[in-house]
Structure formats: structure tokens, C-alpha cells
């Protein structure tokens, strides 16, 4: 086959055809991946919820809602858990922007009385091998079954009770700050919804 000449009509036609084909095929792929993409995002959230919440039989995501807090830029997400229609606890997101390289986002699960059940790390960009150890079992263990009212959520260096990660005090500080924020949100949530301690 002969090579097409570089006339204006040829050039415009070919470029137009290529962009059209590209646009159509991308639109098609976008359509078929839209649902799996949403599912993947939901699955990630569900996985974190399963880790931090006690046994529940409702759908915390559809029961969840957003809480505006004065010092928090984005709204706090709250996912309540119910077992046999009795409030069993809630998972709450906590954010700190004072990590070593920016945002640290957590999901903290609370018992109805405010005791921490478990914490899952949703987003972090900390130093690999140092700050990323905040996802490790050894670090997370110290928060479980602690009540933020009695367990001071500050790094030991700052007079609190949190045992900092080796070489990653700043990351630990951000982590504690985010946890504290989630607890503050939980208190507000409880007052608003008039949930008693039992």
C-alpha cells in the first residue's frame, strides 16, 4: 500500500479519525469499568470496617453519615454498627496532615462507651520501613481496648502514653492526632444521637 501524502485534508482526516476512535474506545472501557471501580473502592472501605467494628448485622456504609467539625477540613465519616438493632459501636475516620509527608487517614472503631476497638490505616505516605510500620500489629496493639479518656493520646516524648515508632516520632504524632480527632468526633456524635453508655 502507498503511504498517504501529507496533504491538509489527509492530515485533518486521519487525526480526526484516530481521536474519534480513541475517544469512543475510551468511553466504552470507562463504561464497563465504572462499576468494578466503585466496587473496588467500596470493598476497601468494607475491609477496614470489618477490621475495626465489632460484630454487626446492618450495613454501616448505607447507615453512615458525614459530620462537619470546625477544625476538620473535609467532613468526618461515621459508620455506626448495630447488632440485633442495638447500637454496637461506630467506625470513624480521623485525619492528620502533620505526617512526615503529609496526610495520614485512619479508620478508628469505638465501643459504645468510647473504648477503642481497633484502628485501620486508610491512607498514608510515610517513609517506607519507618513510618509505614504504623500499619504493623506491634504498633497497633497498644491502642486496642484503651479508652481515650484515660489513655493520653500523645507521644511519650510529649508527655502522653503512646509508644512511638522507632525513628518515626512525627508519623506517630500524626497517627495519635488522627485517632484523637476520631474520638472527638465520636463524642459529638454520641451527644447528637443521645446514645447512652450501655
Amino acid at each position: 500500500m502507498k503511504k498517504k501524502e501529507s496533504t491538509l485534508i489527509n492530515m485533518v482526516f486521519v487525526l480526526f479519525a484516530i481521536t474519534l476512535a480513541a475517544g469512543l474506545s475510551l468511553g466504552y472501557v470507562n463504561d464497563i469499568t465504572l462499576e468494578p471501580k466503585a466496587k473496588a473502592r467500596l470493598a476497601k472501605k468494607m475491609k477496614a470496617l470489618n477490621v475495626v467494628l465489632p460484630q454487626f448485622d446492618n450495613d454501616p456504609i448505607s447507615d453512615g453519615y458525614l459530620l462537619k467539625m470546625a477544625e476538620v477540613k473535609d467532613s468526618v465519616e461515621i459508620y455506626p454498627a448495630y447488632k440485633d438493632s442495638v447500637f454496637a459501636g461506630a467506625a470513624i475516620t480521623g485525619v492528620s496532615e502533620r505526617g512526615y509527608s503529609g496526610l495520614v487517614k485512619l479508620m478508628v472503631g469505638f465501643q459504645p462507651d468510647g473504648q477503642i476497638i481497633n484502628i485501620a490505616v486508610l491512607e498514608q505516605k510515610e517513609t517506607p520501613g519507618l513510618g509505614t510500620k504504623m500499619k504493623g500489629e506491634k504498633f497497633l496493639r497498644q491502642f486496642r481496648e484503651k479508652h481515650p479518656a484515660s489513655f493520653d493520646l500523645k507521644v511519650q516524648k510529649d508527655g502522653g502514653e503512646v509508644d512511638a515508632l522507632a525513628g518515626a516520632t512525627i508519623s506517630t504524632r500524626a497517627f495519635s492526632e488522627a485517632t484523637q480527632q476520631a474520638y472527638d468526633a465520636y463524642i459529638i456524635y454520641k451527644e447528637k444521637n443521645l446514645i447512652s453508655d450501655n
Binding site: 503511504k3 487525526l15 470493598a43
Partner: protein
């Protein structure tokens, strides 16, 4: 159409004589940026291999239809489409890898390796030869990235493909996971690669 011997030559050149990373220094940004673990290196390598293969096929098929003067923008649109497809598919089906590779997925577009092969090979050669060329070059890229990722993961994290062979608290050479380690590890890998291939030929 070349003989099978020629084809083999064509395939092997991408892995050894014209290895995109160690010899030609193409696509250095993803090479250094995402290789903090062997898995990430492999994932990036395979994503690039796919885009390279598809763009070589399309460019080779339509080479006589694309006027010379607009060939570069035409190639770029073709490559960018496949990159976007990879991006969407990864986000939908392998979200973990999508997060790890982050901004380097859209940046496959500007990987000089892909545009370079489209321009210098696929636009001048037959479909079969272009496929073989893409597979060879792509494999060369995959091998280089996986090797670099493996070295950095072993030294920096004490693990390989997430399989840990030291205890969780062990002190590893964290430097190799951090940005400087990428440059340093690649420097020594390049020396080793040159030594081995020089001896072989």
C-alpha cells in the same frame, strides 16, 4: 518476512544488546520511581509491556494510513489511549497496584521507550516484526524493573515479593527503599549488567 533466526535476534536485542534501561537509559522515571519492591517493578514492567505491544501493533497496522507530518501527534494519541485503558483496568481490578504505582501510570505516555519504538521501528516494519520487537523490548524493561525492585526490596526491607526472611523488627538498609537508594542500586546493577554482557559477547 525474516527467518526465525532473524526473529530471535530481533527479540533478544531488546533484552541484552539494546536493553532499554541498562543500555539505552530510556524510561528512567518509572524505573527509579516505582521500584521500591519487586512486585511494583513487575507490575509497572507488565503495564508498560502491554502499552508498548498494543501501540506497536496499531502503529504497524496503520503505518501507511498516517501522513508523515502528523505521525507524532497520531502516535501520541494512540499511546495515550492505551495508557488510559491500562489505568482504568488497574483501578477496577487491581486497586492495590493502582495505588502503589500512582502518578507513574499516566506517565507511561511520556515513557520515551514507547514513542521511540513506534517512531523508529513499528512505523517502518511489518506487523510480526513489530510484535517481536515490542515483546523483546518490553521483556527487557520488565526484567530490569523487577531486578531493581528485588534488589531494593531485599536490601531495604528484608523481603522478596512480600515474603519476609528477617523478623519484623530487624534493622534493614532502609536507604535502599528511599529515593537515593534507587539511584545507587541502579548504578551498581548497570555495572554488573555491563560486565556480564561484555563477557558473554
Amino acid at each position: 518476512m525474516g527467518s526465525s533466526g532473524e526473529m530471535k535476534q530481533n527479540f533478544l536485542k531488546g533484552i541484552i544488546k539494546e536493553n532499554p534501561v541498562f543500555v539505552m537509559l530510556l524510561g528512567m522515571c518509572p524505573t527509579l520511581g516505582v521500584t521500591s519492591s519487586a512486585f511494583n517493578g513487575l507490575g509497572m514492567g507488565l503495564a508498560t509491556l502491554f502499552v508498548l505491544l498494543m501501540s506497536n501493533i496499531v502503529v504497524s497496522l496503520f503505518k501507511s494510513q498516517i501522513p508523515n507530518k502528523v505521525r507524532i501527534p497520531a502516535f501520541i494519541v494512540i499511546i495515550a489511549s492505551f495508557v488510559t485503558i491500562v489505568e482504568m483496568v488497574l483501578e477496577a481490578y487491581i486497586p492495590f497496584l493502582y495505588e502503589q504505582l500512582g502518578i507513574f501510570i499516566p506517565l507511561i505516555v511520556v515513557n520515551c521507550l514507547i514513542l521511540g519504538r513506534a517512531e523508529s521501528f513499528a512505523s517502518k516494519n511489518s506487523l510480526t516484526a513489530s510484535i517481536v520487537d515490542a515483546l523483546g523490548m518490553g521483556m527487557g524493561f520488565v526484567i530490569a524493573l523487577t531486578a531493581l525492585g528485588a534488589v531494593r526490596e531485599i536490601l531495604g526491607n528484608g523481603s522478596i515479593f512480600e515474603f519476609r526472611f528477617v523478623s519484623e523488627d530487624a534493622n534493614t538498609l532502609i536507604l535502599f527503599i528511599l529515593p537515593p537508594g534507587a539511584f545507587i542500586a541502579l548504578a551498581y546493577l548497570a555495572i554488573v549488567f555491563n560486565r556480564v554482557t561484555q563477557k558473554a559477547t
